[in-house]
């Protein structure tokens, strides 16, 4: 399973970013081969509107199957994520990436 995290950095120990559309980075963790890549999302700062759908499209292109984030996406982004078949878990905004992953495994996150 490929799991995407909205983050403020590029490490396992980095803090999560509570925002979805305007998150600074994604970490994409591939459980099958225990590898992760990061994706810089900061160019979205230049978009006055529509950051959510744009970021959701990137997640689709990265072939994420699960998204772990903080506050949860807004309406437009949620529509894209739903059509893309990406499962969303919220409530991890204050955690590190590692803690957020453990929280998912322990069923401590809220399904959106």
């Amino acid at each position: 399973m490929k799991i995407a995290f909205t983050t403020k950095g590029t490490e396992w120990e980095s803090l999560m970013d509570a925002r979805f559309g305007r998150t600074e980075f994604f970490l994409l963790y591939d459980e099958e081969n225990d590898s992760f890549i990061h994706f810089d999302n900061r160019d979205v700062e230049n978009d006055a509107h529509g950051a959510g759908p744009k970021t959701a499209q990137k997640l689709f292109e990265l072939q994420a199957q699960v998204l772990i984030t903080g506050n949860g996406p807004g309406g437009n982004a949620a529509t894209v994520l739903e059509k893309a078949g990406i499962k969303i878990y919220t409530g991890a905004g204050e955690m590190t990436v590692k803690d957020a992953y453990n929280a998912l495994k322990n069923n401590e996150l809220k399904e959106f």
Partner: protein, 288 residues
């Protein structure tokens, strides 16, 4: 003559000034007041008038025809507003993000994104004697104020004579809706209050109207509260202060029950008269 009444800060008295100035000027002239704060128009609260004309307002948005689409991705690439998202074999259109620029529709090689009408709001034209009030209101859920503001100004341009005094009650702030509401004005009145908040946002508004290369002046509302920093700033920047509406409990009471003020508070009328003189000097090409 088009006069836009704007402000950086919200709640400084744009609508108070717009409605009172419009009524006052309509004693001698034909006046149209357009409420361009289409997200929350409120001029009508202060003006008793009959409905003269009503029309629905539409914006154009692209509509995807799956059978015609070759999934080339041009529509998604050209959209500056992220209103078109491509997910594999699916094109999603977000009407609230669309600015009706037509780029996706015109550039689509297979005409798979024709533009269709979508209702965004309503325009109502009210009349009371020499005074017309045009109120446009966005439908709930609509996010784009600019197209409705533009169409409201078009309505004013088409339906009123050159010599009619046109007053545009603008939205607050300094973003796109304000630019749309003020860019065609001959003169902009910036309403402020003599407080640190008022001054801070007045400076932002001044920067904006200077960028637009507009003639403008300042009206200070609730004069008597706060401090003299707004006056000092205007003097240093050589910005004309057109009027100072006094801070008065009587004015606040009349406002709060939706009344026109100047016919009941002589000091208000005096200030409107100063603005009238300033405007008529502008019209005759005098003071600029």
């Amino acid at each position: 003559m088009k006069i836009a009444i704007a402000s950086g800060k919200g709640g400084t008295g744009k609508t108070t000034l717009s409605t009172n100035l419009s009524f006052y000027l309509s004693e001698k002239h034909d006046v149209v007041l357009a409420d361009l704060d289409v997200e929350e128009p409120n001029s009508k609260l202060f003006i008793e008038a009959e409905v003269f004309h009503k029309e629905d307002k539409y914006k154009m948005i692209p509509s995807w025809i799956e059978d015609k689409c070759t999934l080339c991705g041009i529509c998604h690439d050209v959209c500056n507003y992220n209103a078109i998202i491509q997910l594999g074999t699916m094109i999603l259109v977000f009407p609230e993000l669309c600015h009706s620029c037509y780029a996706c529709s015109e550039l689509c090689p297979t005409a798979a994104l024709p533009m269709i009408k979508q209702k965004m709001g309503e325009l109502i034209h009210f009349k009371n004697g020499n005074l017309s009030l045009i109120e446009s209101r966005l439908d709930i859920g609509q996010e784009q104020a600019v197209p409705l503001i533009a169409q409201t100004i078009d309505y004013v341009d088409k339906n009123f004579k050159e010599e009619t005094i046109k007053i545009f009650d603008s939205p607050p702030g300094t973003s796109c809706p304000v630019i749309e509401a003020t860019k065609g004005a001959d003169f902009i009145i910036l309403v402020t209050e003599p407080t640190p908040f008022g001054l801070n946002d007045l400076k932002l508004a001044v920067d904006t109207v200077k960028e637009l290369k507009k003639n403008f002046g300042v009206v200070i509302n609730r004069y008597g509260v706060g401090n003299d920093d707004v006056i000092t700033y205007c003097n240093n920047e050589k910005i004309p202060i057109l009027a100072k509406i006094p801070n008065s409990r009587k004015i606040a009471e009349l406002y709060s029950i939706g009344n026109i003020i100047y016919d009941k508070v002589p000091e208000m009328k005096d200030e409107l008269e100063k603005i009238e003189i300033f405007i008529s000097n502008l019209k005759t090409g005098g003071e600029k």
